[in-house]
């Protein structure tokens, strides 16, 4: 069969730790990447810009959150605010004439600094208290963005982001903007894949599993939690800036509200803590959720002659996120990534299902 570990031999420790141990998986990943690169010619412009591109950007962002929640095991309820810092920092930098490629990096660093400062305070407490502290951070940042008119230009204002250009090339077509998002998503994905096989990733997981046992082998848990928050904030900041530069084109205070934080957290939890492919799947599900729910209830109203107010309809996706998160935590705590993993294990052993794995 094509999907096998047996017969695949690695003769060096480096080979044994390659990103894809099964050749089929490596080929599949390369094929997917090729499809992603050819996407502007394969799928329609509308699908590309309104579905695929936001999916890639939100996946990058969610991978950053997964670094903190899934790898380091620290609940974070203020992630959207950190993205917001990057979005505003990047937009302001670009508006004042800084080239976008630098503005985006600046956005990452701005988020990293603010996210780390908050987390130094937040990491003095654990578990639920940490979650509440990060939620407080969300409120503080939200409030600051709205009330500091130097940042937002006022509560109801929206700032236009200058057109995207990278290294002197104007990027204005849909395909160009899509490639920027794709490139960022690929970079974050590769980083996360390396994390899985690196000393840093192991240290983070050690902190997540048993912080006292981590200390005894020399892992300073406080430092590594901080590193996780800093790295994740950097990813958040760049993702926020990319979101504005290639997708929203204007930045407003409500784009990075508490509700968005919950949405990204739902992407991570539904996708699977610590799972990269799961994050892709979870993000897709959460993004199409409002559409699905609306369609479902639209159908239901027609069928059963229900009367559901617009108000209620607007809140239904939130209820659905909540239900999904709860369902995941109850039945499959490792989310869609786990389902994928089970399928993979089944395929590896197929048709000898009685073998372990």
């Amino acid at each position: 069969m094509f999907y096998r570990l047996s017969g695949v031999r690695h003769f060096s420790y480096t080979g044994d730790r390659s990103l894809y141990r099964i050749p089929f998986e490596r080929n599949a990943a390369l094929a997917l990447l090729a499809a992603a690169i050819l996407a502007p010619w394969i799928i329609g412009e509308l699908t590309l810009t309104s579905l695929v591109q936001p999916w890639l950007i939100w996946t990058s962002a969610a991978l950053g959150l997964n670094l903190v929640v899934g790898w380091a095991g620290q609940l974070h309820l203020g992630y959207a605010a950190v993205m917001g810092v990057g979005a505003y920092a990047g937009t302001h930098a670009a508006r004042s004439g800084v080239p976008w490629e630098i503005a985006i990096v600046l956005a990452g660093f701005a988020s990293m600094v603010i996210g780390s400062v908050f987390s130094i305070a937040a990491l003095r407490v654990k578990g639920l208290y940490l979650a509440l502290t990060t939620l407080a951070m969300q409120f503080v940042i939200d409030w600051s963005i709205v009330h500091l008119s130097v940042v937002s230009g006022g509560a109801l204002a929206s700032l236009r982001a200058p057109d995207m250009s990278l290294l002197g090339f104007e990027i204005n077509g849909t395909a160009g903007l899509y490639y920027v998002a794709l490139a960022w998503c690929v970079l974050v994905t590769i980083f996360m894949m390396n994390l899985r096989r690196s000393a840093l990733g192991r240290a983070l997981m050690a902190v997540r599993e048993k912080d006292y046992a981590a200390e005894i082998i020399g892992v300073r848990s406080f430092v590594f939690k901080l590193v996780a928050f800093a790295a994740s904030s950097f990813i958040a900041g760049v993702s926020g800036a990319v979101l504005i530069a290639t997708y929203y084109h204007i930045v407003t205070p409500d784009q990075f509200s508490t509700q968005v934080s919950i949405q990204v957290l739902a992407m991570v939890i539904v996708g699977g803590l610590g799972s990269i492919i799961g994050t892709y799947l979870g993000t897709a599900l959460i993004l199409i959720m409002p559409g699905l729910v609306a369609a479902l209830f639209h159908g239901a109203t027609e069928l059963f002659d229900l009367r559901i107010g617009v108000e209620t309809l607007a809140h239904l996706p939130n209820a659905a996120y909540g239900a999904l998160i709860m369902g995941c935590l109850l039945w499959e705590p490792l989310g869609l990534g786990r389902l994928y993993h089970n399928m993979r294990s089944y395929l590896i052993a197929w048709p000898f299902g009685y073998l372990k794995k």
Binding site: T14, R17, A206, I216
Partner: protein, 263 residues
Amino acid sequence: MEADGEEIALRCTGIERRFHGVVAVTGIDVAIAKGEIFGLVGPNGSGKTTLVNAITGFFPPSSGEIRLNEKVTTGLAPYRIASLGVARTFQNLALFNGLTVLDNILLGRHIHMRPSVWRTALYWWAAQAEEAANREKVEEIIEFMQLESVRDELVDDIPIGVKKRIELARALASEPSLLILDEPMAGMNQEETEYMARFILDARDERDVTVLLIEHQMDVITGICDRVLALNYGEMIATGTPSEVVSDPRVVEAYIGGSREPV
């Protein structure tokens, strides 16, 4: 007690540890020579784990002084003490679930590696060689502890006897000079216990470690320890060679009076 003329790996002087007024250990004076296998015995609740926690920095002593290789380490954080060459295993197992056996043992190499964000990002250029070099050390230990067959399994689904071995492997991976084992044979059958005793002896002989071993089974203590310290109610009641300690009337009394079977 002093072992004259020898190099001292661990020296505790006047160690006392209280928990909210409860005295868990007090008046501990002990010096362990390099290369010794030193036993620590005593009935349940006599303060063995508390003493180990004081040495490793989890619960620093309320008073007294600890020296590692004659360097004062009293009050240092556990991660600092780890980097000074102390490794330990836990009475109730402390492996990292969700990680493979290999990754668990690789984590034992943490103090010899330089984990960082940029090394992770630039893995191929900045981390790959380091990973391979440390993997080689880990493979030596895997072979030494005979864990080849479970290398790629998650530690979650592994039987307890093997888990104890993995934890010892993780501790050995850091190339410690002092290895502290808190009841490494608890929950093992006779055969596994004998294997474990063999691993401990080999670790001392081949890997130059000094061992502080907490164990309830007296045949293990008499079988592999060079010297033994017995505690009761947090105080030292006997020290000396295993046969001296085991036949000491206060030790016999402590065990008969205690919750355990007499030896």
